[in-house]
């Protein structure tokens, strides 16, 4: 995490964060070692996605994927401020903002956006900007604000405290390298999926919904220690929607995050970090991207249902379709 600018407007907590008290006697409770995932590598975690939770904004959504919790607000389209510095905009101007709540990770975050948050914001912008029909909203702006309420710890510099049988141990795992990418990737994918749902809830016209997908390639731990390119040709394990802890005996190689428009088969945002090589003419990057697309397709199913669900809820509740004007059956032409 980048060094934070001192925030003089608020009463700041200790910069190094605070640790909850560890009671050694209560061996069964407390933090437990991240358990090895029992789901198959080609299955993503269960997603909870709901729209329309914040009534004061145009559109909103809330997403939960295991530890990750985030809420998205969409404001607008609303007029651009009338200042001389504002250029004429024939298309709507999209702004995206991603902010971790101060309590979202083990290390306390500042109130001012840091570089990783700005980075996530620009990636989210890239993922969404092509999907929105911006030409329909001239001289307007659309704001997407994401607040991450809880996330897997993405800091490289954090030692993990485990409590086992009454004994606290501090471990720095070999896989701590690269976990930042995995954790941020899951966050970004969640942001993209939830933001699409919020845009649909806001009634903003889009070419397609964008869903986010993450995949990580793993290799056997033994292979990774060897010098040279040996590990690049050995069998890979691709895990969709990876958890922080890698599968046993595996070490991560590369992580791919993307924003994917399933109905158009288009990728709107691609972010790959790590090592990728070539094998038998097909690049591992293609395989990794395909895995991430598959993860995004699975998330798309949830996204579609979430977008429909609210319309269905209103239709069921009122027994009528949403209001509209200009429909033949509705216009009263008396007099």
């Amino acid at each position: 995490m980048a060094a934070k600018a001192p925030d003089r407007r608020r009463n700041n907590p200790p910069s190094h964060g605070t640790t909850p008290p560890v009671f050694l006697s209560s061996s069964s409770s407390g933090a437990v070692k991240p358990k090895q995932s029992s789901r198959p590598p080609d299955e993503i975690r269960k997603i909870f996605l709901r729209t329309g939770l914040i009534s004061s904004v145009t559109g909103s959504s809330f997403l939960e994927i295991a530890p990750l919790k985030l809420s998205v607000s969409v404001l607008g389209p609303r007029p651009l401020p009338r200042t001389s510095s504002t250029p004429f905009a024939a298309q709507a101007i999209l702004t995206t903002e991603v902010k971790f709540a101060p309590f979202a990770s083990t290390v306390r975050r500042g109130y001012i956006r840091d570089s990783s948050e700005r980075d996530l914001g620009s990636r989210l912008y890239q993922a969404l900007v092509g999907a929105i029909r911006r030409e329909l909203y001239p001289k307007s702006r659309i704001e997407v604000v994401v607040t991450i309420l809880d996330s897997e710890d993405e800091g490289d510099d954090v030692n993990t405290v485990y409590i086992e049988e009454g004994k606290a141990t501090v471990e720095t795992k070999f896989w701590d390298a690269g976990r930042s990418e995995r954790a941020l990737g899951v966050v970004l994918a969640g942001c993209i999926t939830a933001a699409s749902a919020a845009l649909a809830d806001a009634g903003i016209e889009m070419f397609d919904l964008v869903s986010g997908g993450v995949a990580t390639s793993f290799v056997d731990e033994a292979n990774s220690k060897g010098k040279g390119k040996g590990h690049l040709v050995s069998n890979k394990l691709y895990v969709r929607d990876p958890a922080i802890a890698p599968p046993g005996g595996k070490t991560p190689l590369a992580t791919c995050v993307l924003g994917y428009m399933a109905a158009r088969d288009e990728i709107s945002e691609l972010w790959i970090s790590g090592k990728v090589g070539t094998k038998n003419g097909t690049t591992e990057m293609d395989e990794l991207v395909d895995e991430a697309i598959a993860a995004a397709r699975s998330a798309r199913g949830v996204l579609n249902e979430a977008a429909k669900e609210r319309v269905q809820f209103i239709v069921d509740k009122t027994g009528t379709a949403p209001p509209s004007k200009g429909e033949t059956t509705d216009v009263e032409m008396s007099g």
Partner: protein, 350 residues
């Protein structure tokens, strides 16, 4: 709203062959399951009206339909086949003759010429006001588009420009008509009729745009019970509503004493009083009935019933029968629902 956790849809392998659209088809089965399958049977006739679609979903591939709001055409196919109509909103399908459009759950008011709107002044500029009418862009009201005190035929002078705040200042509510639209959808309003102008003596409320049914007249005058007297309801097409104590309109048809106001006498009638910011004396009975009507309109909109003259009257009658005394059901969703159901039953009876 019941809470349920949606399990991710089962993974289906991408099938890129035999797909001349260059993408997957998202298809909705009858039981509502999402199938992401490249081999889904081609649907030619289009979906049922009222069916729910999401952005990116193919509405129909049949070329006989015209695309309306909330849809777009897919990219031209290499094979030269007809382009499909794709939804760009999450909402229900509506069919008007051969026009397919998607109605979103929420949408902003889009001004059209001739709409009666209720608005609030946002900003005062040199020769115009900016008015919030719940549209994506605020509307403008030119100084030359209002009735100036002293008569409809008077010419605007620089003195009026200097006194612009005496007509409307920030936060004032007004009822106006959409006069013109610029080519990017910005509305310009006018109040050059004695039906329009500043609003006072009442209460302002908002409902969703589109919950107001378009009618012949959007200004209703109701006779209320319990000694409330007459109450005016301004049903803005933009979802902004103002309910006020009835004041005798200075129209050509009826003056204060029932005699008509001739065009030559307008200058006396349209005096400074039309821009007054001071409420008249409003009796507690009238206040109670204004509040009751506001509750009825709110309940109608919340329960998905479009607000029009008939429904306001029926809803008001139902509210009187249900609760003769007191306004305590204002925030009560259940009571509101009962009132709306009673009103709908009355309408069925005719």
């Amino acid at each position: 709203m019941p809470i349920q956790i949606i399990a991710p849809a089962p993974f289906v392998t991408a099938d890129d062959e035999e797909d001349d659209e260059g993408g997957v088809r998202l298809d909705l089965d009858n039981d509502g399951d999402v199938a992401m399958d490249g081999d889904a049977p081609r649907r030619v006739t289009g979906r049922q009206a009222g069916g729910i679609v999401t952005p990116g979903e193919v509405v129909t591939e049949d070329p006989q339909w015209m695309r309306g709001h909330g849809t777009y055409l897919s990219q031209p196919l290499v094979s030269g086949g007809s382009q499909s109509i794709i939804s760009s909103l999450a909402g229900t399908i509506s069919k008007t003759n051969k026009l397919l459009s998607i109605r979103a759950l929420k949408f902003r008011y889009v001004p059209e010429i001739g709409d009666l709107v209720v608005g609030r002044i946002l900003e005062v500029q040199t020769k115009r006001w900016r008015v919030d009418i719940a549209a994506p862009h605020s509307a403008t009201l030119l100084l030359s588009s209002i009735n100036l005190p002293g008569g409809i035929l008077r010419k605007r002078t620089s003195t009026d420009e200097l006194q612009i705040r005496t007509f409307f200042s920030e936060g004032d509510l007004l009822v106006a008509e959409v006069q013109t639209l610029s080519n990017d959808g910005l509305a310009s309003l006018h109040t050059r009729s004695l039906k329009y102008g500043k609003l006072r003596n009442g209460v302002f409320m908002t409902i969703d745009a589109g919950m107001v049914r378009r009618m012949k007249s959007h200004v209703l005058t109701m006779n209320t019970s319990n000694g409330g007297g007459e109450v005016d309801i301004y049903l803005g097409v933009n979802g902004y509503i103002y309910i006020a104590k009835h004041t005798t309109p200075l129209t050509e048809s009826g003056g204060p004493e029932g005699k008509s106001v001739s065009i030559t006498r307008l200058e006396e009638e349209a005096s400074e009083a039309i821009y007054s910011n001071v409420n008249e004396e409003i009796s507690p009975e009238t206040r109670a009935e204004i509040a009751r009507i506001a509750c009825v309109i709110g309940a109608l909109a919340r329960n998905g019933v479009k607000v029009d003259e008939e429904m306001v009257h029926l809803g008001y009658e139902a509210a009187l029968e249900e609760f003769l005394q007191g306004m305590e059901w204002g925030g009560d969703g259940e009571a509101g629902k009962r009132v709306v159901e009673a009103a709908l039953a009355k309408r069925r009876e005719g």
